[in-house]
């Protein structure tokens, strides 16, 4: 039996000595996992039988389905200086993510077939995490003309969104929902009213008052979400609310679900870890859209995760180059990277303080996001793709500025201590983390 790091391209093998956690099947047990031809062959308790061919020692690590992040920005095409599909896919597997959905605010935007195909090609050539393109809801993300959803879905898009921006009018949101429903794909809305946001750079509250920074009121997000949910009452469609940040938004989604509306929702790790008080350092990595809000909003997000109002966690991984972020706070672009810290933030904010157990926390980044997009991921059942993450949920580590595989390092967690570390990631049976090269070393 060899150490897992000695894997050398075997197509059929067993990983033994692992604690298997499969939230999709409600299963946690000490056992072993068999892989054959890039698919999961078996998951069984105890030791492997003597006749099993190649056996690798999982070292007592936990083994779960590879994580799924349905909201990342890979920046390619157009902004390759911040991130490329390859470096983003590397950052993904470094964080245990084997499937990611990338947003269309690239240049050109993902509003035509050729761009979808380009992205799929680049992801395949990189050979790290699987990438599922989200196409633009409107041409050019301008909010005026519907996108060609048939063509885009045919090429491989799994959802539509104008993320980065909301669909600007009620009428347009209605048309997007109606047309998307024909193809069975979700419409993902970045909920925001730009006139309410105006020149705001952080949450409007006690701290924007103290710091003299322009505030973004919570109702900016809520007004747009409320509009969409009212439309959803009359138009049958799959609606997914991206990066919820406020208590009011959680309440709106809870109410809508009670009424049986087909709405799902996500939040991001930074909204669980930070609150607006943390912006007193003027750290530009905390400038995010929608902004990090108050303690009462944070508590509401935890409650929303607990009662199922919020379906999943998505990182909203948003790389920006150092020269763009090392500026005055109100000049910095919004966004933080997150693929490499999301899992650890969930362990640190949910599992360790007892807000959720490990399986519940993992479900937020495995089968539940997979279900939102309808992609084949997030499970260890027989015949599923052999995508998994091996991790130590207790390992303590300090996030370092130069420790990222992402091309950018705009993380608000730099210098923070987190718990839980992914040690290996497998995609289609390949131990891809062996191939990772440090972005800093390249």
């Amino acid at each position: 039996m060899r150490d897992l790091s000695r894997w050398q391209g075997e197509r059929e093998y067993v990983i033994s000595n692992v604690i298997v956690v499969d939230p999709s099947r409600g299963r946690t047990m000490k056992g072993h996992v068999g892989v054959a031809d890039s698919k999961i062959d078996f998951v069984e308790p105890g030791e492997p039988s003597a006749k099993d061919a190649q056996v690798f020692d999982g070292g007592g690590l936990h083994l779960s389905p590879g994580f799924v992040d349905i909201h990342v920005h890979l920046r390619e095409p157009g902004f390759e200086y911040k991130e490329t599909i390859r470096t983003g896919a590397m950052a993904a597997v470094a964080g245990g993510f084997t499937s990611v959905a990338c947003m269309p605010n690239t240049d050109p935007p993902i509003d035509e077939k050729s761009v979808v195909e380009f992205i799929l090609r680049r992801a395949k050539a990189a050979g790290f995490a699987k990438v599922y393109p989200v196409a633009a809801a409107t041409k050019g993300r301008k909010g005026e003309v519907l996108g060609e959803y048939y063509d885009l879905v045919d090429a491989g898009a799994v959802a539509v969104s104008d993320d980065g921006a909301p669909v600007p009018t009620a009428q347009m949101a209605r048309r997007v929902m109606e047309y998307a429903s024909k193809y069975g794909i979700p419409f993902i809305e970045h909920c925001e009213d730009p006139s309410a946001t105006a020149d705001g750079v952080m949450h409007e509250g006690l701290y924007s008052t103290k710091l003299g920074l322009s505030g973004v009121p919570s109702y900016s997000e809520e007004v747009c979400l409320a509009r969409d949910l009212l439309i959803l009452k009359t138009i049958p469609a799959k609606y997914h609310a991206a990066h919820l940040s406020s208590r009011g938004s959680v309440d709106l989604v809870r109410d809508a679900k009670k009424k049986g509306l087909p709405v799902t929702a996500e939040t991001a790790p930074h909204y669980l870890y930070f609150s607006d008080a943390d912006l007193q350092t003027f750290d530009t990595n905390l400038r995010i859209n929608p902004p990090i809000r108050g303690e009462e909003d944070r508590e509401a997000l935890f409650a929303g995760l607990k009662d199922g109002t919020i379906d999943c966690i998505a990182s909203d991984h948003a790389p920006h180059a150092p020269q763009e972020k090392q500026v005055e706070f109100d000049q910095a672009p919004s966004g933080a990277i997150g693929l490499e810290t999301t899992f650890s933030v969930l362990i640190t904010t949910l599992v360790r303080p007892g807000r959720a157990n490990l399986a519940e926390a993992l479900s937020l980044i495995t089968h539940r996001p997979a279900r939102v997009l309808g992609i084949p991921a997030g499970t260890l059942e027989r015949g599923a793709p052999a995508d998994f993450a091996l991790f130590d949920p207790d390992e303590e580590w300090v996030v370092e500025r130069n420790g990222f595989y992402s091309k950018s390092n705009n993380s608000p967690f730099i210098g923070r201590t987190l718990f839980g570390k992914v040690k290996h990631t497998v995609v289609d049976g390949e131990l891809v983390t062996l191939r990772l090269q440090r972005a800093a070393d390249r």
Partner: protein
Amino acid sequence: MSGLRSKHLLGLEGMTAEEINLILDTAASFKEISERPVKKVPALRGKTVVNLFFEVSTRTRASFELAEKRLSADTVNISKAGSSVAKGESLRDTAENLQAMKIDVIVIRHGSAGAPHFLASILDASIVNAGDGSHEHPTQGLLDMFTLREKLGGIEGKRVTIIGDIAHSRVARSNIFGLVTLGAHVTVCGPPTMIPPRIEELGVRVETDLNRAIGEADAVNVLRIQLERQKVNLFPSLAEYAVVYGINRERLAAMKPGSIVMHPGPINRGVEITQEVADGDRAVILEQVTNGVAVRMAVLYLLCEGGSKDKSPSIEDVVGEKSDSRVN
């Protein structure tokens, strides 16, 4: 304990009463120097101070420059126009290049809140905030408190009303932080559109009716109303603002006898304050400016005297040079 805890002056928030009083007491010593025919002491001789002003300024800039020169420091003035910022050079690069010339202090005024904090995180020099966006203007807050102390005999228990666009005012914020720390009763007054959320949690009373706000005040600090704010619908017209919130003769007459009127400048005569009140004997606006130089001398002195934190200004430093054969 004496001396300031930080080598920077980024704001009055979090500054202790002891530190504020130290600065005000030191300023009282320095005020006398500006009354002399030879307005110079050697306290900062050999120190280099850069005035980095990204926003226009008359008062603050001249005040800092004079404070530095009267302390015998070497000064360099850089404004946004005429610098390579026009070529797109970043704040960070500008500051690091200046630091490479081995400077001791940067006095920065900038339109972005947090700009001085950003510099403090990347440079070794002492950073003095001369106004960062709508956030803080600590030396203005200090000179306002110095003026109050002088005119009213103290700050604790005094009623101070700040009138104007509180939401966008760094002068208001610094005043609030400093005055509350020293135990004053602060009221903020302005149209609801200009009162930021939850400001009462900073320890102030909010009053949108001007008469109720100034009735019992020992001092009113009148802020300049900015025309640009009208364009974003914070108030409908200057005329309406003047009628509802302007300090005119009638309003002044309704205030307590002995109460004073302050203004950080520049004044919009006829808007937030009438010509008559601004030029009248209840207004202390020009005294504020005089006090500003002394306060800034005190700040620079205390920040630069890092090595001798338990000395209060020595008599030689304050009174000026004795004849010294080494100096030529």
